[in-house]
């Protein structure tokens, strides 16, 4: 019995819900691109890309941003193109 399990309530016998309770205050991540139905990520759209290269200029990982693999690959491609043109930094001190 978990710490957050109150016993035989409504959700007794529903393991999925019990698991969910532990993360009660964590928002479900979702892919922003899927949500907004963006199919193409432009390497020229610096404002968008800069959101994916915070301070250290590393590409924002999927596990944190919640972007789906399909879109993460597109973001990656766009950032790499933008880096080649000095639109987005490789590193920043």
């Amino acid at each position: 019995m978990g710490r957050y399990d109150s016993g035989g309530g409504r959700d007794a016998g529903r393991p999925k819900k019990q698991f969910k309770r532990k993360f009660l205050f964590r928002k479900k991540k979702f892919c922003k691109f899927c949500d907004e139905k963006i199919k193409f990520i432009d390497y020229k759209d610096i404002r968008l890309l800069q959101g994916f290269v915070p301070e250290r200029a590393k590409i924002f990982p999927r596990r944190i941003s919640g972007t789906c693999s399909k879109h993460q690959r597109k973001v990656m491609q766009a950032i790499k193109r933008a880096r080649a043109l000095a639109l987005v930094p490789f590193t920043s001190d």
Binding site: D42, K44, R47, T67, L85, A86, L87, T91
Partner: protein, 123 residues
């Protein structure tokens, strides 16, 4: 005939006339190869994300071309021959939005009052 998008970054000290010459050169080459120029966009002087040959700034020019695939090789060769071109990139047009004005030409969100700057696609 395919659509390509080509960007080059030049020395910030080039004059407008010299930039025009470069644009014209690409234009002439493209027409000679049986293609045409769809769009030319001058972004002007921009700060580089990192220094290139001790230069902090560069002049960006974007061109959209419709040309045979072999022509890209020739354009790239010309770019490499010109040492005043710091960086260049030619890619296929993947999306129709690339044929219109690029995001670079849109007003900055900070200047628009209806959308606060933080409300981008920031994760």
């Amino acid at each position: 005939m395919l659509q390509y998008e080509t960007i080059f970054v030049t020395d910030p000290n080039l004059s407008d006339g010299e930039i025009d010459e470069l644009v014209q050169l690409i234009d002439q080459l493209t027409v000679a190869a049986g293609g045409k120029v769809i769009k030319v966009e001058r972004w002007g002087k921009r700060r580089l994300a990192y220094t290139i040959d001790h230069r902090e700034e560069g002049i960006y020019v974007l061109m959209t071309l419709e040309c045979p695939p072999q022509h890209v090789k020739e354009v790239d060769r010309r770019y490499r021959m010109n040492d005043r071109i710091l960086r260049h990139l030619t890619v296929r047009v993947e999306d129709e939005s690339q044929l219109g004005p690029s995001p670079m030409m849109k007003p900055r969100p900070a200047e628009r009052e209806d959308i606060p700057a933080e409300q981008g696609l920031m994760p």
